[in-house]
Structures are given as structure tokens and as C-alpha cells.
């Protein structure tokens, strides 16, 4: 059987190459992949695909009673429509809220300097609570009847 597998190599000569895989190429660690996934989550939930296809303005504009132009942050009355800035702001809050929970998980390690633990707890709680309630606020600004029937 060995002679059969060796047949092509009676005709073909294997070149003597000194190829080495470069040392900096290695399978990425799970946490590196997590960071890549988080960046893509931030971009997708910001509605980047919506921005590229529909090309909305970055901020809306309306004129007030005196004729002066006023900026409008949120595209009102439409659930599936946005301006670019509001999408980025909202998705930043989504990611911040998620990271707050991750930070909170890290505070349970047994041996940690007291200052570090208090700092992590503080950042974690603030991230979660802030992002959650500000997102509710954003939704209320976008849909004027939100949670009021």
C-alpha cells in the first residue's frame, strides 16, 4: 500500500521548503473573540446597516415658532427609523449596560484590595442603572405615548 501512495512522488519532486508558521499567528483566545463580537454588537445595534442603506441625516432639524432652526435628536413616531447619532448613543448604552454586569461579576473574586472592589462595584452599578433608565427615557422621547396607552 505504501508503494501505491508513493507513486505520484516518483514523478513529482517535493521541494525542500523551510516554511514556518509565523509565531505571531495563533488561534485567538476566547476573550479576544468576545471583544470582537462586542464591537460588532455595538455597530449592529446602532443601526449601522440602516444608516448605510437609508442614509438618514446625523441629526434632524425643525423650525420653531420664530423661524429659527432647532435640532431634533430623535426621529419621532416611528419605531423603525433613526438618525445616526441617536443610534450610536443608544447602542453605546446597550453595551455599557452589558459591561456593567460583567464588571459586577468580577467583584465576586475572593482576594481583591478593598479599594478595587468598591471601585468596581460603583462602576458596575452606575453603568447598569444609568443605561437602563436612560434607554427607557430615550424610548419615551421617541414614542410619545410609550407606556401610557
Amino acid at each position: 500500500m505504501d508503494t501505491f501512495y508513493a507513486i505520484p512522488f516518483t514523478v513529482l519532486e517535493i521541494p525542500r521548503l523551510r516554511l514556518k508558521k509565523p509565531s505571531w499567528v495563533q488561534t485567538p483566545s476566547p476573550m479576544f473573540m468576545f471583544i470582537v463580537v462586542m464591537i460588532s454588537y455595538f455597530l449592529v445595534t446602532a443601526g449601522i446597516i440602516y444608516d448605510v442603506i437609508i442614509e438618514p441625516p446625523s441629526i434632524g432639524q425643525t423650525t420653531d415658532d420664530y423661524g429659527h432652526p432647532k435640532p431634533v435628536a430623535f426621529l419621532p413616531y416611528r419605531v423603525n427609523g433613526q438618525y445616526i447619532m441617536e443610534g450610536l448613543a443608544a447602542s453605546f448604552l446597550f453595551s455599557l449596560g452589558g459591561m456593567g454586569f460583567v464588571i459586577l461579576d468580577k467583584t465576586n473574586q475572593p482576594l481583591m484590595p478593598r479599594f478595587n472592589r468598591i471601585m468596581l462595584l460603583f462602576i458596575g452599578f452606575i453603568s447598569i442603572i444609568l443605561s437602563f433608565f436612560v434607554c427607557r427615557l430615550f424610548m419615551g422621547m421617541k414614542l410619545p405615548g410609550y407606556l401610557r396607552g
Partner: protein, 709 residues
């Protein structure tokens, strides 16, 4: 005192295992009942009626299947749609939904519970959502733990992203497809963890059920091979994965080809090639691992060099030959637009015009998922921190469905289950790790040793704060989901309701059914109706008349011809109507009551689609705008627009009515302008019927005059 009373209750006598089983059963039952009940808003507010457009087609085919049996259904050629082309219904639908309803209907009737087929269809989706809740529990239990499973079942019972396509009355493929998809995934994970042929066969059967129910099965047949490929790349490929994937791929592909609509696609189209490629790769990797365990190093090197060079040469030749001879079809329009979202916008106006196919904005994510968008990264983090064979699957599912949901808002439906699963993993891990920190108040356990960890003195208080915060979040989630379901996703679309009139009472607009029933009773049996494709399914199901184009939109040229007729002047349109044998024309007009999804708002799509084929090259979209580029129907409007057939049919005799006491006659309440062309007469059509609120207007096509001019 309280403790002694509690000790008399049977619950406290039970062992820990019995208590947990009871709790699990109770929570699952409550979740299943809840998922059924929350979808009943529109049945309670209106009646048990089929919603929207597509469900009417499914309802009509189910009625046909119940009345005529499976063989007639399989061979059904429908000559009442797409006149004069007809449609081979037996070969162009996914029959799973209809067959499920018919089996349920026959089962109930055999028990003498004579529920009408309409009610079976209306309540099928909520029933399957209860089953989805239970299947999600099993899937998450396999992936993580029982606690996470219970949280996932509760979250998915009320998540708005899933409710939107499965309310009572929304009788569409997605109602059962999500259940089939999650069932297939559960059985796949069970098979991969155990490596048993029995579970893998069950997975293949569930996959067959999935293929029969929805075109989105392509997602499954690409995700499972992607999972296997990820396992190969990360070095977790073993004999269990090999056995599971080979069984699932072979049996699943053969079974999926039994559906006439799928046919030979699994071995011909590019969308299925990834599965085939991974199948081949599995064999190679499996063989390599086997050979490595049996051969010495030099023998292995020789063998692998030979096999690699032979495989590369053969596969390149075969792939080139198949590609050049056209046997392998490239990715089709709908699926290609998922990879390149701008493709539909630039090339296929019909796909671009459907509002469900628009990309997703941030507010749709938050509206449909609320708390889950925050917990999704947490669940992902914990899965990445504890990588196992099954966690890699759920990570891949989550990442791919986030991308697809971002491209098309309709696919939020596919994202909702994985959001629930990953969020439940995040919530469960957070809660368990913090509840461990809570101090037990039970006096019977011995006092814990002095905490070795003096740096964390507020452990108990922090844990209580975290638990309270998560409870608050879950409560707001429930309120949000109920509000969203009640306000946004429970409208039947065929019946409209509004608060209006002098006393602010609720007004019901039942114009659509009024018009369809008028048509059913007052037109000839073989009358042909021309309308825009949105209303096709409803006309065939309720009015039982032949139509030209419907929501299946399989023939772009035919739809384009109808678009040309609507965009042209009356005499040009008359030629097209004579060519297509049209007897009646139906338009939807919302200017009287302020209904904004009417045909004038859809008109630009008719122009675009009408102008996109070769017989419509004389139609240019810019002719219908004012010189300054606006779309206006008042005096400033473009003359082409003010004289086209659609304008005339919508605004015929509208110039003589007052819609509002403060406004002039002919004031359009949707466009908020007074219309430009008021006094005109129709030459080739005559008004046949206008409904009570002018929503539906039907015109009869006059026959050609006896003495031609």
C-alpha cells in the same frame, strides 16, 4: 410560630428533589399559559378573525386541504390567481402549517369537538408559542442549567419580537417555524453531547418538519455546519460530533428533498453547499484522526500529502466544471440581499418595497427586546468564559442572528429566541453568584466560620441590592412586553379601530370585509379583479374571485404590467386592461378617514416597479414629482400624476365631499392638502361600489364601445 405552622404544609416535608421538580413544573405551566394568553388581545377586542394578508392565503389553502384531502392539495393548480398564468400551489408552498392545522382539526373532530377550521387557524400560533416556551427550557437546560432554562422559558413566553409574528389570528409560517427551529436545535445539541444516532435521527426528523414549514430553514442548514466547522477549527472535533453531523446531514437532506418546493435545491443551490462542504471536511478530519491513531509519523505524512494533493486537484476540477456548466445556482435574490443589503435597493424594487425588509434601527431592537439587549452581552461573556461544545453553538447562533436581524427587521423573529437564551444564561449566572453571598437566616444551619475575607464587608448588602435590581428589571420587562403587545402587535389590519367622532368613542372600520363580501355577492363568478398585489390573497380568500397579481410576487413582469396600468392615463390603461381581461378594478383610498397605508402612498412603488420592465420604459418616476422634486397631489402636483388612473380612481367624486368642517371640499386627510384635480369624469370605467368610509373603491371596466372611434 410561623416556622411551626410552615412545618405542617406538605411542601416542607418533601425532599429537595421533589420540591425542585414541583417548582419546575409550576413555572413551565405558568409560562406556557402566559404565552397563550398574552397573544389573545385582538381576539378579545375584535373577534376571532384572520389578520393581515399572507395568513389569508394560508387559510384558503388549509380550507382546501380540509375539504379535498392531501392528494388534491398536492396536485392543486390554482387558476383563480395570477390570471392568465395561474399558480401551481402544490409545488410552490411550504405545506407544514396547513398539514399541522388539518391534523389538529381532524383530531379534534374525531373526538367530537367540532371547532371550525377558522378558529383552529386563528389559535394555532398561540398554541405553538406555548410549546416553544417548553422547548426553549429544554434547549437552555442542555446548554447551561435548569435554572437558566426556566428563566429562558419565561422570557420567551412574552418577548415582543416573537409575539409580533405569532398573535392569535396571525396564521403564518413563522408561528410554527420558530417552534420547529428550536426543537431541531435542542435535538442537535442533545445529539452532539451524547453522540447517539437515535438523537441525531430525531434531529433529522425535526429538521424535516422545519423544512416543511418555512423558507428560513436555510438558516439551520448553514448554522449547524458552521457549528461543526467551528468545532473542527477549535480542536473539539471528536467521534460524537462526527456521528451526529453525518446522520443529521444525510437523513435531513434526503428528507428535505421530499418537499416539492425544495426539490433538488439541497444538492444544487449555493445556499446548501456549505453543509455539503462541511460534510466532506468531516470525513477528511475524521479519517485523519483515525489514521493518526493507527499509523507511525512518516506513514502518516506520506498518506496525508497524497490525500491532500489528490483532494485539492479533484475538488477544484469538479467545482469549476459545475460552476461553468451552470449546475450550481448562485445565491438567489432574497438570500443574497442578506449578504449584500444594498443589492435589493439597487436591483429588485419589489424586495426593497416591503417594509419588513428594511434594515433595523436601534429602537426596533429596544422595542422588541427591552431588557434582553442588555443581558445578551452578559450571556455571551459567560459562554466565552466557559467554552464547551454546546456553548460554541449558541455563540454562533447569537452572532449570526444579530447580524441578520440588523439587515432585515423581519428577522428580529429569529433573533428573539437566542436573545432569550443568552439573556437567561447571563441572568442565571449573575443571580446564582450573588445569591451565594446572601447570609442565610435559617437558624438550623451551623454558624459559618469567621469570614476569611475581611476586605468584603458589605457582601450581604450588595447581594441584596443586586437581587432587588434584577427583580425590578424583570418586572419592568413584563410591563413593557404587555404594553407593546397590547398597543403595537394586536391589530388585525383587516379591521381598523380609532377613537373619533364627537364623543371620542371607539369607531370600527370594517370596510375591507364589506367590500370583499359585496364583490362576492354582486359580481359574476368568473370576474377578474385588478388591484395592487398587496390585496390579492384577501380577495381570493374572502371575495372568491380571480385576480391578476397577489402577495406571492413570483412574476415581476406581470406585477409590472399592473403597475403600468395604474400609472398610465385612462386610455393607455384601458389597453392593458383589455389585454388582461380585467372586469373590475379595486383601489384602497385612505384620504376620507386618514388611513395612511393606502394606494396613493404606495403609488411611487407602482411607478418604480412599472417602469422596471421593457414594456414600461416610457414610465419615469421623475414625471410624477413636481419640478422641485416633491410628491404632491394638490394643484402644484405634476400633471402626469394628476391624470393617471390611480389618481382618478382614488379621488373620483372626492372633490364634492367635506372631510373636515374647517377645510375646503376634497381635503385629503392623509396628505393634508386639498386635491388638485377635482372635477373629472371617468371614460372607460364606472364606479361600482365605494364602502362606508371610502376605504375600498371598486370600479367596473366598461366593455369596448360598439362602434369604435
Amino acid at each position: 410560630m410561623a416556622a411551626s405552622f410552615l412545618s405542617y404544609l406538605p411542601a416542607s416535608q418533601m425532599s429537595h428533589e421533589k420540591k425542585s421538580t414541583l417548582l419546575t413544573l409550576m413555572i413551565l405551566t405558568i409560562a406556557a399559559i402566559l404565552s397563550f394568553l398574552i397573544r389573545l388581545f385582538s381576539v378579545l377586542r375584535f373577534e376571532s378573525v384572520i389578520h393581515e394578508f399572507d395568513p389569508y392565503f394560508n387559510y384558503r389553502t388549509t380550507r382546501f386541504l380540509v375539504d379535498n384531502g392531501y392528494y388534491d392539495f398536492h396536485n392543486w393548480f390554482d387558476d383563480r390567481a395570477w390570471y392568465p398564468l395561474g399558480r401551481i400551489i402544490g409545488g410552490t408552498i411550504y405545506p407544514g402549517l396547513m398539514i399541522t392545522s388539518t391534523i389538529l382539526y381532524n383530531l379534534l373532530h374525531s373526538l367530537n369537538i367540532t371547532i371550525d377550521i377558522r378558529n383552529v387557524c386563528v389559535f394555532l400560533a398561540p398554541l405553538f408559542s406555548s410549546l416553544t416556551s417548553i422547548v426553549t427550557y429544554h434547549l437552555t437546560k442542555e446548554l447551561w442549567s435548569t435554572g437558566a432554562g426556566l428563566v429562558a422559558a419565561s422570557l420567551i413566553a412574552i418577548v415582543p419580537g416573537y409575539i409580533s409574528r405569532s398573535v392569535a389570528g396571525s396564521y403564518d409560517n413563522e408561528g410554527i417555524a420558530i417552534f420547529c427551529m428550536l426543537l431541531t436545535y435542542t435535538l442537535w445539541i442533545k445529539a452532539v453531547k451524547r453522540g447517539s444516532v437515535a438523537w441525531a435521527t430525531a434531529c433529522a426528523v425535526a429538521y424535516f418538519y422545519m423544512v416543511s414549514s418555512w423558507g428560513g430553514y436555510v438558516f439551520l442548514i448553514n448554522l449547524i455546519p458552521m457549528h461543526v466547522f467551528a468545532l473542527i477549527v477549535t480542536g473539539r472535533f471528536n467521534v460524537k460530533v462526527y456521528v451526529s453531523y453525518c446522520t443529521v446531514y444525510c437523513l435531513g437532506t434526503v428528507m428535505s428533498m421530499q418537499i416539492p418546493f425544495v426539490g433538488f435545491q439541497p444538492i444544487q443551490s449555493s445556499e446548501h453547499m456549505a453543509a455539503f462542504g462541511v460534510f466532506g471536511l468531516c470525513q477528511i478530519v475524521g479519517f485523519y484522526q483515525y489514521a493518526a491513531s493507527k499509523l507511525s509519523k512518516e506513514e502518516l505524512n506520506l498518506l496525508s500529502r497524497f490525500v491532500i494533493s489528490a483532494t485539492v486537484v479533484v475538488s477544484l476540477v469538479v467545482a469549476m466544471a459545475l460552476q461553468l456548466s451552470g449546475k450550481i445556482a448562485p445565491w438567489t435574490g432574497r438570500f443574497y440581499s442578506l449578504l449584500d443589503p444594498s443589492y435589493a435597493k439597487n436591483n429588485i424594487p419589489i424586495i426593497a418595497s416591503v417594509s419588513e425588509h428594511q434594515p433595523t434601527a436601534w429602537s426596533s431592537f429596544y422595542f422588541d427586546l427591552q431588557l434582553l439587549v442588555f443581558m445578551f452581552p452578559v450571556g455571551l461573556y459567560h459562554c466565552f468564559a466557559n467554552l464547551t461544545t454546546e456553548n460554541i453553538f449558541i455563540i454562533l447562533y447569537g452572532v449570526t442572528s444579530i447580524y441578520f436581524a440588523g439587515v432585515m427587521v423581519r428577522l428580529m423573529l429569529v433573533l428573539a429566541p437566542v436573545m432569550c437564551i443568552l439573556a437567561s444564561i447571563g441572568l442565571n449566572k449573575t443571580m446564582t453568584s450573588f445569591m451565594k453571598n446572601l447570609e442565610s437566616t435559617n437558624k438550623e444551619t451551623p454558624q459559618p466560620k469567621k469570614r476569611a475575607d475581611n476586605s468584603y464587608s458589605v457582601k450581604n448588602e450588595v447581594a441584596m441590592a443586586v437581587v432587588a435590581m434584577i427583580t425590578l428589571f424583570l418586572t419592568t420587562y413584563v410591563f413593557h412586553c404587555t404594553w407593546v403587545t397590547s398597543e403595537a402587535y394586536s391589530s388585525p389590519s383587516i379591521v381598523l379601530a380609532a377613537r373619533g367622532g364627537s364623543d371620542g368613542s371607539r369607531m370600527i372600520f370594517d370596510d375591507f370585509r364589506e367590500a370583499y363580501y359585496w364583490m362576492r355577492q354582486n359580481t359574476e363568478e368568473d370576474a377578474k379583479i385588478m388591484s395592487w398585489w398587496d390585496y390579492g390573497y384577501q380577495i381570493t380568500a374572502m371575495a372568491n374571485r380571480t385576480i391578476l397579481v397577489d402577495n406571492n410576487t413570483w412574476n415581476n413582469t406581470h406585477i409590472s404590467r399592473v403597475g403600468q396600468a395604474m400609472s398610465s392615463t385612462e386610455d393607455k390603461a384601458y389597453e392593458i386592461m383589455q389585454e388582461l381581461d380585467v372586469d373590475y378594478v379595486l383601489v384602497i383610498f385612505g384620504g376620507m378617514v386618514g388611513y395612511s397605508s393606502d394606494d396613493i402612498n404606495k403609488f411611487l412603488w407602482m411607478v418604480r416597479i412599472g417602469g422596471s420592465t421593457d414594456r414600461g420604459t416610457h414610465i419615469h418616476e421623475k414625471d410624477y414629482y413636481t419640478p422641485s422634486g416633491e410628491f404632491r397631489v394638490d394643484r402644484e402636483g405634476s400633471p402626469t400624476l394628476l391624470n393617471c388612473l390611480m389618481y382618478k380612481l382614488c379621488y373620483y367624486k372626492f372633490g364634492n365631499v367635506y372631510t373636515d368642517a374647517n377645510k375646503p371640499m376634497g381635503y385629503d386627510r392623509v396628505r393634508n392638502v386639498e386635491i388638485g384635480n377635482k372635477d373629472f369624469e371617468l371614460d372607460v370605467l364606472e364606479e361600482a361600489y365605494t364602502t362606508q368610509h371610502w376605504l375600498v373603491r371598486i370600479y367596473k371596466v366598461k366593455p369596448m364601445s360598439n362602434r369604435g372611434i
